[in-house]
């Protein structure tokens, strides 16, 4: 038993290292790039394309000029430094005009207001985006729209303050009545009360407070807004308003009440059926027909309303998809627990439906933020067409076309890409299955 032939090993051999082709870079290359003839061909094509792209763009980017006063100066600098045949990017145009791309024709000495608004934006959206922050910060988020409005457009502070009070009145009436009269009726009565306050109370109160304590910023006209400031004002407002509106429209479309349902369907299908451009033209051309003569209201406001409607109709459809994806058992369970309609929606249906619709909602937001460039066609100074046209019309910068487009494209890309990454983060965070 203990006899062991001398040719049989008694101890383990140390493990041999794997063959070279099965480790490290070579293995990775073999598996991921050259695993077969087709794959190798694809790799070579891809490599060729990448090399072509780099060798086309690299010299142009390497020869960038940042300090110049005109396109010709750029060209002569490039020709001096890199030889007469060299091409190069002339970023000097961005250096000279970045403020117009970002802020339009906003008065330069008032830029601090934009900076403050923008910084406050991050404070206001942080508690909405990240649930780990203290919930009390949400009050800041609620106040933010009016603060931002006052900072950007200026004027006496009392207008926004009393508008906020109107919202407070609405909330108070709603809370007082909602138990006895139901959510919809209470909200309606609250709205009427707030509207009465806004129409008859605010003007007088504002004037009297202003005479007691004049707090005002210099006013800035809407037509001085432009560039990414305009895109953000339209985009952020539309995002904030269109989500609740879209939820209501989706619920309306699912509702048992025939009239509510047909109005919702009609609204959604109409808005989704026509291009945004026609709606914007309606805002700028037709509104004068449908409002009492002599009314004029701000073009930015009109555009914001139309863009919000547009986004809300799309969001409603996305959320309807989420509602349809919920198993019927969820509705039945809510009924079995004795929850009423709004409680069931708030506690059971919406949290799940919204979670399912996150990718769709965020891609609607991204689409809408990109669509803010279309306001150029009704005469607003969007960063892409409005401002680029203004800048390129300058004789000094005649012949520049890549640089402004690249600059604008990069900024849009950063915004939209981070939105889509955030949506992926949220999806992962809310995922409850297959942990």
């Amino acid at each position: 038993m203990t006899e062991t032939s001398s040719f049989v090993r008694t101890d383990m051999l140390p493990p041999a290292p794997p063959p070279v082709s099965q480790t490290g870079v070579i293995k990775w290359l073999r598996e991921n790039l050259f695993s077969g003839p087709l794959n190798t061909t694809l790799t070579l094509c891809g490599l060729g394309f990448a090399i072509w792209l780099v060798q086309a763009a690299a010299p142009w980017l390497l020869h960038s000029v940042w300090n110049a006063n005109s396109q010709n100066e750029c060209r002569s600098i490039i020709a001096e430094t890199w030889g007469p045949e060299a091409t190069g990017a002339c970023w000097a145009i961005i250096r000279a005009r970045w403020h117009q791309f970002l802020f339009g024709f906003y008065p330069m000495d008032q830029y601090w207001r934009i900076y403050v608004t923008f910084a406050a934006l991050f404070v206001a959206i942080a508690p909405v985006l990240f649930a780990t922050l203290p919930r009390r910060m949400l009050w800041l988020s609620l106040l933010y729209p009016l603060v931002a409005f006052w900072l950007l457009w200026g004027g006496p502070i009392w207008g926004p303050v009393f508008t906020a009070l109107g919202f407070g009145l609405w909330a108070a009436v709603f809370l007082a009545l909602s138990v006895r009269l139901g959510v919809v009726v209470a909200a309606g009565i609250g709205l009427v009360a707030a509207a009465v306050f806004w129409i008859y109370g605010v003007g007088a109160l504002e004037a009297s407070m202003q005479s007691v304590l004049p707090l005002a910023l210099p006013e800035v006209d809407s037509d001085q807004f432009g560039g990414f400031l305009l895109a953000l004002v339209i985009g952020v407002t539309a995002i904030v308003v269109s989500l609740p509106m879209g939820v209501l429209l989706a619920l309306g479309r699912q509702s048992d009440m025939l009239i509510i349902k047909s109005l919702s369907v009609g609204f959604i299908e109409f808005i989704r059926g026509v291009p945004l451009i026609t709606l914007l033209f309606t805002a700028s051309l037709l509104l004068q027909y449908f409002l009492p003569s002599g009314t004029s209201f701000d073009l930015i406001l009109r555009v914001v309303i139309l863009v919000t409607f547009f986004a809300a109709a799309y969001i409603a459809e996305v959320i309807r998809g989420g509602l349809a994806a919920l198993p019927r058992g969820q509705y039945e369970a809510a009924d079995a627990l004795g929850l009423d309609y709004w409680q069931a929606q708030r506690l059971i249906i919406m949290p799940q439906a919204l979670k399912i619709s996150i990718p769709g909602i965020v891609s609607t937001f991204i689409g809408m933020f990109k669509d803010t460039t279309l306001v150029a066609f009704v005469g607003l100074m969007d960063p892409l067409k409005g401002i680029s046209t203004v800048v390129r019309a300058d004789l000094n910068w005649k012949g520049v076309y890549w640089e402004p487009y690249i600059f604008v494209a990069v900024i849009f890309f950063i915004f939209n890409f981070s939105m889509s990454r955030y949506s992926m983060f949220l999806e992962r965070k809310l995922k409850r299955d297959h942990r």
């Binding site: 790039l33 094509c45 009440m257 009239i259 051309l285 037709l286 991204i366 460039t373 939209n416």
Partner: protein
């Protein structure tokens, strides 16, 4: 016996309209309806008063007056003596043309990119990811403007294509050259492409409404349809034979013959050849010229939409679990049949609805044509006609109606499809 919770039966009181949940929904609906009708009436009344004040009326007879403006790209004959109605139709046709071509190109490119993005090849998958993220996250308007600018500002002028004898003698070469065996010349004025032509042409018939139809195209189309029908018969017969005897007759050589043979024969009979664009003193002649506005719009719409389609295709393929493929293999199906019988029917259920809504988006996005002055429906009816006649209300309403009709037609097709493939639940 009555339960304690039974509603009181002592008649109807007015307060029940808001306190009683049975009637509350009716109350809410009535109030909403009244508010809606009041709002509608208010808007219409304003419109009536405002029109009156401006001395305008509301009618569409301007559509039958002389348009008086030119349209650069026309699919059916049009002169500026034609009516606004005719201009409207030209615009609509241009919209449909760029939309249909855009949908086809975007689908091809999108499927290609979507499939390659799933490739195991690391490099190709990354390149496709960059493609999708770049084109999805940057506004379409930028792509349209950029394409328009590149085509019209960076391309050489037609003069640079000239190759004179003096240049030949001096040993010079022209500054720019045509592509693809001299069939395509992209100048700063437009793209000149070789056009198919027939030396024994059958001529054309003119339909009522001055719409010419080429008999050559009709003949070719008829032949194609006949060969397709013949091919279907061939396949049906092969299947019948296979089911009767168990062996399928060889059809691989008959298929191309029956599909392509007659068309080639008829084309040769008609004297098919390519009419090449040739550079003359100032510009190219021959072939046909595509406007840069059209090309730029088409390219931009194609790449932008294809990024979305790629994501849809990728999601559709990923949605089919791997077990389906394995089950099909376990049943002994070959990879091709697995794809056709198991994967595709399920993946299409996921892919088609969002795909059609991308088509819808592309059609609506084609109204951005205004950025490169392509004369689509918005350029004719909503642009020059509107400005010339000053009838904003009529033009905008008509335009919305047309876009709405297109959308509703496409989305009702989609709803039919959705209904037919819906998973049957309780």
């Amino acid at each position: 016996m009555t339960l304690a919770s039974d509603p009181p039966k002592d008649g109807f009181r007015l307060s029940m309209l808001i306190y009683d949940t049975r009637f509350r929904s009716v109350t809410i609906q009535v109030i909403v309806l009244v508010l809606f009708l009041a709002g509608l009436f208010w808007l219409l009344n304003n419109a009536y008063v405002n029109l009156e004040a401006k001395g305008k009326d509301f009618n569409f007879s301007f559509l039958w007056t002389r348009a008086g403006y030119d349209i650069a790209q026309t699919l059916i004959p049009y002169t500026n003596d034609d009516t606004h109605m005719r201009a409207l139709i030209e615009g609509l046709l241009n919209t449909l043309l760029v939309s249909v071509l855009g949908c086809i190109c975007a689908t091809i490119l999108g499927v290609f990119v979507g499939v390659l993005r799933l490739s195991h090849n690391w490099l190709v998958a990354r390149i496709m990811t960059v493609f999708v993220e770049t084109f999805r996250n940057i506004p379409l308007l930028l792509w349209i403007l950029l394409m328009g600018t590149i085509l019209s500002e960076t391309r050489p002028s037609p003069r640079d294509f000239r190759f004179t004898e003096a240049m030949q003698a001096a040993g010079e070469t022209p500054k720019a050259s045509m592509w693809l065996f001299d069939t395509i010349a992209v100048t700063n004025r437009g793209t000149n492409v070789a056009a198919p032509a027939f030396s024994n042409s059958l001529g054309e018939v003119v339909l009522p409404g001055n719409i010419p139809v080429s008999l050559n195209a009709l003949a070719l189309f008829a032949v194609l349809a006949a060969s397709f029908w013949g091919w279907r018969r061939l396949m049906a017969r092969a299947k019948a034979v296979q089911e009767a005897t168990g062996t399928r007759p060889a059809t691989w050589w008959q298929t191309p013959l029956i599909l392509l043979g007659p068309v080639v024969a008829v084309s040769l009979g008609l004297g098919f050849h390519l009419d090449y664009p040739v550079i003359t003193r100032f510009d190219f002649t021959g072939g046909f010229q595509m406007l840069h506005s059209f090309t730029a719009l088409l390219i931009a719409l194609t790449i932008y939409t294809s990024a979305f389609i790629a994501e849809i295709v990728r999601a559709g393929i990923l949605a089919i679990s791997k077990g389906q493929t394995e089950a099909a293999y376990a049943l002994g199906l070959r990879p091709g049949r697995t794809m056709n019988l198991v994967i595709l029917p399920q993946a299409l259920r996921v892919i088609v609805p969002p795909l059609i809504s991308q088509y819808l988006n592309l059609t609506k996005n084609s109204s951005l044509a205004i950025a490169v002055s392509y004369m689509d429906l918005r350029g004719t009816l909503g642009g020059i006609t509107l400005n010339q006649t000053g009838r904003e209300l009529e033009c905008m309403l008509l335009m919305m109606l047309i876009y709405l009709t297109i959308s509703l037609v496409i989305s009702s097709v989609m709803n039919l499809y959705n209904k037919s493939i819906k998973l049957k639940e309780r």
